[in-house]
Symmetry: C2
Subunit: 250 residues, 2 copies
Amino acid sequence: MAEREADRSVSQTVKAQLALRDQILSGTLRPGERISELQAVETTGASRTPVRMALVRLEEEGLLEAIPSGGFMVKAFSERDISDSIELRGTLEGLAARFAAERGVSARELEPLKECLAAIDELLAQVPISIDAFSSYVSLNARFHALLTELSRSPPLIRQIDRASALPFASPSGFVMAQSALPEAQQILIIAQEHHRVVIDAIENREGARAEAVMREHARLAVRNLRLALRNRTHLDLLPALALIKTATD
Amino acid sequence: MAEREADRSVSQTVKAQLALRDQILSGTLRPGERISELQAVETTGASRTPVRMALVRLEEEGLLEAIPSGGFMVKAFSERDISDSIELRGTLEGLAARFAAERGVSARELEPLKECLAAIDELLAQVPISIDAFSSYVSLNARFHALLTELSRSPPLIRQIDRASALPFASPSGFVMAQSALPEAQQILIIAQEHHRVVIDAIENREGARAEAVMREHARLAVRNLRLALRNRTHLDLLPALALIKTATD
DNA sequence: TGAATACGTTTTGTATACAGTAACCGAGGG
DNA sequence: CCCTCGGTTACTGTATACAAAACGTATTCA
């Protein structure tokens, strides 16, 4: 009915989905909490039907869990769930890298990857890294991973990787953002960048096994990154996704 | 409104989802075909709202594709999509096997796996295998893989494997069912059974890398199985899921 | 005093009505 | 004869009304 918002031209379902995801990730909705459709209708501005569709999508996405008696609740994750998700993602990206290497990639297709690499190199050159440079790194790193995934040219695999990356904590580059942890984080990032370099080299030389192995090692590094992030808990303000962790670990 | 069907006590959404999936897998709905909600309402007996929910779920499941202008169509798969899906599933199951091996599994937990193994052994003992024994094998094999997945004790991984297995052709044991192909299929099944045996042994001895490697090899065997199934095209009557393959390959 | 049952309230699941939009068909002009 | 433009139709997306089920509460009986 043409709300006063500027959101027109975007479907109500998508609007509700984004709004609810924001609420979950920002901690407005706590893990384990039952989601009231009526309340969601009020906060999102959409009607019940699109809200329900959004809830179904978010459940499939893994952020919500269906309650047997009806309705949905925010999913709670254990620390192991998260490290498993990271390793899972790494395994899938390893497969993507192997596919890319085995199936061959033209120099033209590798171009954007190499540009990404160079841009990250520039960021990492400054010691210590600034907080701004760090957030630039996060988006550049995401871009690199997305491009690499595309190189596999396997729609089913790309789809699964997207699914695995939907969980916000599966993309581990954004974990360490607290000022105090930056030097230690930079060390990790430099190693990660070396992984990036090697995987491109392996793809260029069509070394599938090597490409896969290095992406897996990359994921293990990310798990280490996660541990670091959990130790310096100041990051919680910056990455509320971690609020989804069960408090059982405390 | 209490239809005359015996489906009462099951939600309309689930009913519609099952009915639509049947229609897709049985070939009633052709790949690329736009799904009419109105028509789906008539065939499933549910109302438009649950039908829409079912459509969203089937889209997330990977059987449907959203049309930009609205609505959904049945997804079409290439032959490579299918072999990629199999390899993808194998990679995930490899990770599950590794997790099981690394994290340790009690003898009691391995019991049902071994029972499964023994039951399959019995089936494979008869040469040539009967068509009935073959379909028993299919369900036993599915059970074995499900149990193995559970052993990983990793909810995120189990979830992803379930997703990957939702595509019907990702479970390759059911491919070869044509009478003429049975002897050749039995050869493959015997090798597959050896893989099953090795993966259990590896898990018992906590050899993570070995457990993972054999499950990957298992998937490559399944791809070979797929090729065989595509050559003996008589199976098309028995496994209409393959009708989802794009006809471009013809 | 505690537990069980019945009633009321709240919330979800389902059905349907309405509106907006895209596709299709036909007619007219180039 | 083909291309284009306008109308019509049928479909999807959204909103809302209704029904059934679940939860909480209070009251009564043991």
